[in-house]
Amino acid sequence: MAWETVVGLEIHAQLATQSKIFSGSSTAFGAAPNSQASLIDLGFPGVLPVLNGEVVRLAVRFGLAIGATIASRSVFARKNYFYPDLPKGYQISQYELPIVHTGSVEIPLAEGGSKTVRITRAHLEEDAGKSLHENLTDATGIDLNRAGTPLLEIVSEPDLRSAAEAATYMREIHQLVRYLGICDGNMQEGSFRCDANVSIRPTGEDKLGTRAELKNLNSFRFIEKAINYEVERQIDILEGGGQVVQETRLYDADRDETRPMRSKEEANDYRYFPDPDLLPVEIDDSFINQVRADLPELPAAKRKRFIDEFGLRADDVAALTASRAMADYFESVAQAVGNDPKLAANWVVGELAAALNRDDLEIEASRVAPDALAQLLQRIQDGTVSGKIAKEVFEAMWAGEGSADDIIDKQGLKQITDTGAIEKVVDEILANNAAQVQQYRDGNQKVLGFFVGQVMKATQGKANPQQVNELLRKKLS
């Protein structure tokens, strides 16, 4: 039987604030255990939550970016369950009235074209702490630094039809939240996490199958592997005459498998009710308009513009718009080189990306600034250096040896365009290679390449290749 995969994602994006959602503790990563846990984060008797206004602004920013409805009134609710990393015995979240609902994003499909993924809701909630098992015998250590960190939980409809689509959607949201500056997207530090609801059904069937919730999908690679594993597992069960059990499963990256979570074995009854310590969050149109006015150009719009305005290829555009910083870098180079955006694009996705990759750097930390790269490209355009020499210059710039002009000047890399000088070299080469000259004259045109190579070698690549070609043809004819 043919099976169709059905996936919906719940993405937890940590909102980029200085302080926590309900307390004035720092959200900085990596502090000593429990050194950033205030009385509120610890759930001490008597303390009360006060909402950080910045999380509201960031959530609205996201909502506007996905064309969603911003709730004029949203309500915090308590999700009640016991767990040692949950200090109050409840998580403050939003349940019936989330701050953002009914939006969508467009994702590109591997087979071409795109599809719309509907986003049911995005709600605010507080993160839990961390359970640490290392160095403790039969015990767990609880670090509550992360407790109370603001999260935006972005819940999609079950619109995704493959592991690859799920990964693409996750990338799309990842890119979007970083464009919006609402989340740093750091997956190693847990700032961007994902759970997947996965089910299968016979192709053509409308009814959804029983789903499993996969936890701990904290990389684009894992999400694909975990969903693929889970789909195979469910197919095996159903084709073997069994039934899929609705449960929460943990993805184990080391073993590349999913397994049931012990802590979630008991049916949960979260007993949601409105949190009486917090009042409804009210958002008016003037606030929404203010946030809207402040929105950056979004990835989809930028991609379209780069194609329309610069005439670039889709795959180059994808690379150039991967992050807002990358796109900004490209645009400032492209602007400086004027009429040749393709030259700028080739260099940014080529040499620059390779160098960044080699040194494991983000574009923000590039060793060559956009204006410096633009100067180099201008030297290609005005014929000062060839493309090949430019690559050498670039490496020197990357190594911190100075600007393009300095390096060209210091290392004498300026292209030889003096016809007399080139002619002198050409004459010498022809004189020393009589046999090859004869071959050419006998009709073997390929030998021309040999002479070009020899001339370039003799000039350390500095001779203008076009002039070399012209002179050779003239002299050999």
């Binding site: 008797p45 040692p84 009710f273």
Partner: protein, 484 residues
């Protein structure tokens, strides 16, 4: 030495007739001498009290004393006090020493008030008789066999018994007004949001409100003037200016419309209590007030509504007591859920566990709409009744409790009987309104209270009417044997 009232103490301090050290010493001596019987205090902090009294005297000597500088009071043991054990009447917190002060505590301390100790209370404020305290029942100063009411029973007994002139309290369903009535003193529960809840250990967050127990309305006005006000640490704190409560105490009652709800005089009300409350209403009329009959048709539903909303919120509020970060933890546990369930089984008393169970049940899957949501709707109907009534009258008056103080042990085995004790007080909590109880007579040697309830943020009016009543009567000046 007579403890007197806050006003009389303040006058003596201002005149230089007494020092804060003398007043504080006197309070500590009274506690020492008589609290063995009353059991009004869980903790007495003689040393820090005397140090605070010394500081208050120095402040006064330096000419920087305010109206309350140097007045010794007690705090209900539900308010967190930095460095001073705060138990909430529970084994769970028997050894808990908070690292911070509640806003009520710090505001009063900033005003120069001296804290002599923490008063006994029903465990986590859940009770109407003070018998659910882990630290034993409090005795009513009028009759040690009787309950002082609850949950602020320790505060009430401390004031009624003349150990201190004033004590703080909290009122979730009547926990200030009912013990005030049962011990013959004045108790004021302000509007929800008027006094910060920060640092007050939560029972039911949408109902809890801090207030004060005193001998007179004038004293209550003096203390509330300091306690009330906006607190940025409490999201439910109202950013509404605080009126000058003492300034309007003297206003005439001429033309004041006082509503008397028929529902307050139901079958459950003791006949003698009814007679005394009617007499008090006549007294108000004689002082110029206009009595009007009003109806709060949904008021009889306030008890069932409350016993859904309050336990539901409590079940969640008390989940933080899990043995991980503070409080009691069961010994010799090896498994996580065992640690939770034994810690909580040992740390909480029967009534608290019953309310956690009730609250968990009404919020559980399949029951939310039938219980919690329906209760929230009926709560709205009850609040609407008050709104409609206040379109016609300035204030509502009636009995505080259905009977005078009952015997300790009388109702402990019947939670529902106990709950019905709060039938007249719960409405004000559900609607978030300010209320007060003032003594209005005696039956069988036990005091009876007159309750006043006003519209939101009408504390000035509630205090003014209570004060005018006290100018016309002397019930508030009666003292039980041994108390001055």
């Amino acid at each position: 030495m007579s403890i007197g009232t806050v006003a009389s103490q303040a006058a003596a301090l201002a005149a230089g007739n007494l020092s804060s050290r003398e007043l504080t010493r006197a309070a500590l001596d009274e506690i020492e001498a008589r609290d063995g019987t009353l059991n009004a205090f869980i903790n007495v902090c003689a040393e820090s009290a005397m140090a605070a009294a010394t500081a208050a005297d120095e402040l006064r000597a330096a000419g920087r004393a305010g109206p309350l500088t140097g007045i010794p009071i007690a705090h209900k043991d539900i308010f967190c006090t930095r460095g001073l054990a705060t138990t909430c009447g529970s084994r769970m917190l028997a050894d808990f020493v908070p690292p911070y002060d509640a806003t009520v505590v710090s505001r009063l301390a900033d005003a120069g008030v001296v804290c002599v100790g923490k008063t006994n209370m029903d465990e986590f404020a859940m009770g109407s008789s003070n018998e659910t305290s882990y630290f034993g029942a409090v005795r009513n100063p009028w009759d040690p066999a009787k309950s002082p009411g609850g949950s602020s029973g320790g505060s009430a007994a401390a004031v009624a018994g003349g150990l201190v002139a004033a004590a703080t309290g909290t009122d979730t369903g009547g926990s200030i007004r009912q013990p005030a009535a049962l011990t013959g003193i004045t108790g004021v529960k302000p509007t929800y949001g008027r006094v910060s809840r920060f640092g007050m250990i939560a029972f039911a967050s949408s109902l809890d409100q801090a207030g004060v127990l005193t001998r007179t309305a004038e004293d209550a006005a003096m203390l509330l003037a300091v306690m009330a006000g906006f607190d940025p640490r409490d999201s439910t704190s109202a950013d509404v200016p605080v009126a000058d409560y003492p300034a309007t105490l003297g206003d005439s009652l001429e033309g004041r419309r006082i509503g008397v709800p028929t529902e307050f005089f139901d079958d459950g009300l003791d006949d003698e209590c009814a007679t005394l409350v009617r007499a008090a209403l006549a007294e108000l009329e004689a002082a110029g007030a206009l009595l009007r009959e009003v109806s709060l048709p949904n008021l009889p539903l306030s008890v069932p509504t409350y016993y859904i909303v309050a336990p539901a919120e409590a079940s969640s509020n008390l989940s933080r007591f899990d043995g991980v970060r503070f409080g009691h933890r069961a010994e010799a546990v090896t498994e996580l859920n065992e640690m939770y369930s034994l810690t909580r089984q040992q740390g909480f008393g029967d009534e608290v566990k019953r309310r956690i169970m009730t609250g968990t049940y009404v919020l559980s899957a399949g029951y939310y709409d039938a219980y919690y949501l329906q209760a929230q709707k009926v709560r709205q109907l009850i609040a609407d009744d008050f709104r409609k009534a206040f379109a016609e009258v300035d204030l509502i008056a009636g009995p505080t409790a259905p009977t005078a103080a009952f015997a300790l042990g009388d109702k402990v085995d019947d939670p529902v009987q106990m709950y019905l004790n709060d039938i007249y007080t719960i409405g004000a909590n559900l609607a978030g309104l300010p209320g007060a109880s003032v003594p209005c007579g005696f039956t069988g040697g036990l005091p009876v209270g007159l309750q006043l309830v006003g519209p939101a943020f009408s504390e000035s009016l509630v205090l003014n009417v209570a004060h005018q009543y006290q100018l016309a009567t002397d019930w508030h000046e009666r003292r039980p044997a041994g108390a001055d």
